[in-house]
Symmetry: C2
Subunit: 201 residues, 2 copies
């Protein structure tokens, strides 16, 4: 008989993270993670398809936050306004109390090239998903992909700052600063070579 | 005795591409590629570490074009001017006579998720390399990473357009248009929510 245990998934995640940090991701097995919280290996695999999934669980909800932020924006929102809405939405997905977990998770990922690749592809998936949501609102190409990749880029940079040692600003504040920097970089400057002034919208 | 054959690498690449397109990337072996041009499997592996390498050969030179474009830009160039220089430099790496090959290569990549991931990671590698080259010029963070990721994003979108069916504009012209669109998207607009005006530089 299988006993339902509240929070089994979260306990498995916490135990996995600790094992990954102390012994190295490669060395830890699913069976050991299960053993650490006193459940069977079968219970582990009812919660996660594999060891890596422990670190990437919740990706659908994560992607949904981006999609909802685009869909819920006011009618007629410009690409820049949609980028802003996306950054606001995803910031609410990472409240400050989540920062310690995000830091530990990143430490594990930084130690393993395959996990780093998985994380990069996750961000590329975010950009593709946001671009599709923007096109669904009638934003044309290449604007939709440019705006979506800019949003993913600003999010990625802001997130890295957010989990930095000693950082205490909220993800929303950091993302706002990084977006401002992007806009500063791309604005007209004297001496430019190729790009002329942007056409009137 | 090994006879030196001029153009063996290029003949292997052409034969591989044709085999990938007609029979599917997964189904083709290195031995079959070698056989198609009348060389031994050993000769194949002197030219390419594996089957995938046929499609990704030359990545070092590709990355070097980006690095050189940043390094060779005039002193005091702004991040936007460096992005422009990068796009100009990489466009020269893809002259129009290369377009048919690039189109066929992309067809193979589009049919295989693992190759698509490899290509995405290649572009992420470009961004990281360009960011490092920008930091080496004294561009601070997050400006260097933002500019580098914008350059990679514009390049990726422009390249996709360049190899599109019926497209005849040069990569340089397309990239210039896409950069202009990025600048149009990120400029100030009425009704914005989060980001204020960029600080004076």
């Amino acid at each position: 008989m299988v006993r339902w245990e509240p929070g089994t998934r979260e306990r498995l995640q916490a135990a996995a993270l600790e094992l990954f940090l102390t012994r190295g991701y490669e060395q830890v097995t699913a069976a050991e993670i299960a053993q650490a919280v006193g459940v069977t290996e079968r219970t582990f695999f009812r919660n996660f398809s594999d060891k890596r999934e422990v670190l990437f669980h919740g990706q659908e909800q994560f992607l949904q936050v981006f999609v909802d932020s685009v869909s819920d924006a006011p009618a007629g929102a410009s690409p820049l306004e949609l980028v802003t809405a996306v950054l606001h939405g995803v910031a609410s997905f990472f409240p400050d109390e989540r920062r310690p977990y995000s830091r530990l998770r990143q430490t594990v990922i930084d130690q393993n090239p395959a996990l780093q690749e998985r994380e990069l592809l996750k961000l590329a998936g975010v950009a593709a998903t946001v671009a599709a949501a923007m096109r669904a609102r009638g934003i044309g190409e290449p604007g939709a992909t440019l705006a979506a990749q800019s949003a993913a880029s600003v999010f990625g940079i802001a997130f890295t700052q957010w989990i930095g040692e000693g950082e205490s600003r909220s993800l929303e504040d950091i993302a706002s600063d990084v977006l401002r920097e992007l806009r500063s970089i791309t604005r007209s400057q004297p001496g430019e070579v190729v790009a002329g002034p942007a056409p009137t919208r």
